[in-house]
């Protein structure tokens, strides 16, 4: 299980990386954390002509709060940085909570935010959180810079809207509404495994009435998705157990899960309903706590 030969190109600036990417015209892969890429190379499921290593590009790993209380995360920030960043924990606790579910320490030490988004695994936490938090993804190429909403960025299983010569350079999480409650729940066979299903939610209450509801699901469709109908059901409503159950059922209706080795489509639907109910209840509790 050894990778096929490739050229190794180390970039010291974004410019160099973009030029190299263009030069190889789709036959090169960007090497950031490599935690998803290298297994594919070792199994020889991928055999690019070149790997363009972007790890040494300075400044690309910054995690910072920017104007409007938004969080800007450079593409080379590692999962472990988000997991332990006090800024993330304070402003985006849901993101903080989700990061602990990403594989294991050694993987989180290397795996990057840009890499996870670009790889777009339907059972990976970061794309789902980007979707939940209405993140804006910055993609750059020699042709210019684009800003893509997460929902436009994630197209399908391992498929994004990135052009061949584009590099994800940053992701921006806009500030959450004040007093938002949140929750995250994941079901995996073992700790650190890819999720069979996971649900995350953010709820904002005004006087006990839902202002905004966001529900994101993963592991249960081609890509992470938002349960828009369920979000709609909650809007403007007061807490009732039946409402939560109805929203969970609605979330469940929105998905198109697969049957694989780990779980059947039916079980995944069942799990989404259960997790959605728990997560909505948890987020509601937190939102009420915030309001109180």
């Amino acid at each position: 299980m050894k990778p096929a030969a490739f050229d190794y190109v180390q970039s010291h600036s974004l410019e160099e990386a973009m030029v190299a990417l263009r030069k190889y015209g789709g036959d090169a892969k960007l090497l950031a954390g490599g935690q998803s890429l290298v297994p594919l190379l070792n199994f020889r499921l991928l055999r690019p002509a070149a790997l363009i290593d972007i790890n040494r590009i300075p400044g690309l790993d910054r995690v910072e709060m920017i104007a409007g209380d938004a969080l800007r995360v450079g593409a080379l920030a590692r999962h472990h940085t988000l997991e332990t960043s006090p800024v993330v924990a304070r402003h985006f606790p849901v993101l903080h909570a989700a990061m602990a579910h990403v594989a294991h320490l050694a993987i989180r030490n290397r795996g990057t935010i840009g890499g996870s988004l670009s790889h777009a695994d339907p059972a990976a936490e970061l794309p789902m959180l980007a979707l939940l938090l209405d993140a804006i993804i910055t993609a750059e190429s020699t042709g210019g810079t684009r800003h893509l909403a997460a929902r436009d960025f994630l197209i399908g299983a391992l498929t994004t809207a990135l052009a061949e010569d584009e590099i994800v350079t940053a992701v921006e999480f806009p500030a959450l509404p004040a007093g938002a409650g949140w929750d995250f729940a994941e079901f995996a066979l073992r700790s650190g495994d890819f999720a069979i299903a996971a649900v995350a939610a953010v709820l904002t209450l005004r006087d006990g009435v839902v202002g905004e509801a966001r529900i994101a699901l993963m592991g249960v469709d081609e890509t992470a998705i938002r349960a828009s109908a369920a979000e709609g059901l909650l809007q403007g409503q007061r807490y009732r157990p039946e409402l939560i159950r109805a929203a969970a059922r609605s979330a469940c209706a929105a998905i198109n899960p697969i049957t694989d080795l780990r779980a059947s489509a039916d079980y995944r639907r069942h799990l989404v309903e259960i997790l959605a109910e728990r997560v909505l209840a948890g987020a509601w509790n937190r939102a009420e706590g915030q309001a109180a």
Partner: protein
């Protein structure tokens, strides 16, 4: 040989300058080129943790890293911990608690433990188990490994490598 590069790395405090093929996995570089066979290969897809080493102080999978990427880096492997007649406190805790049987996963376990003890409070056994969950052991059922980590955690002054 295809695309090759010269790298300069510090491994357990010793500098090496070597010509490596781009595709050479760090774990093969350590084992074959430097004859540091303490770091083991268990799966080559990042699941088992047997190849875990410290790269600039952070635990990483040497099977998911190319040697060429480590130019200028500081690498620590199990060979850089204690000696067989002078074990490090963590190694000693593993021995005292019988935390290894066949010993194949042990080097990766030790390197992971060093990093996780640095990064997490490991307040209870469940936290220790979670933190160990990226390293598979097929012999011990983890019971004695948890004992060893708990003991090392409780004597931090002795447990730095």
């Amino acid at each position: 040989m295809s695309d090759c590069h010269t790298i300069r790395v510090s491994v357990n405090g010793t500098s090496h300058e070597c010509l490596v093929e781009s595709r050479l996995l760090l774990v093969d570089f350590l084992r074959r080129d430097l004859a540091l066979t303490g770091t083991h290969i268990g799966c080559e897809h990042g699941v088992c943790g047997a190849c875990t080493i410290l790269l600039d102080g952070d635990s990483v999978r040497a099977c998911l890293t190319f040697a060429v990427q480590t130019d200028g880096c500081r690498i620590e492997t199990v060979e850089g911990l204690g000696e067989s007649d002078n074990l490090s406190p963590l190694q000693q805790a593993f021995r005292d608690h019988h935390a290894l049987q066949c010993g194949f996963c042990t080097p990766g376990m030790l390197m992971t433990c060093i990093d996780m003890m640095k990064k997490y409070p490991l307040a209870d056994d469940q936290a220790i188990r979670e933190a160990l969950s990226g390293n598979l052991c097929r012999c011990t059922g983890y019971v004695h490994i948890v004992d060893a980590v708990r003991a090392a955690r409780d004597r931090p002054e002795e447990s730095s490598p």
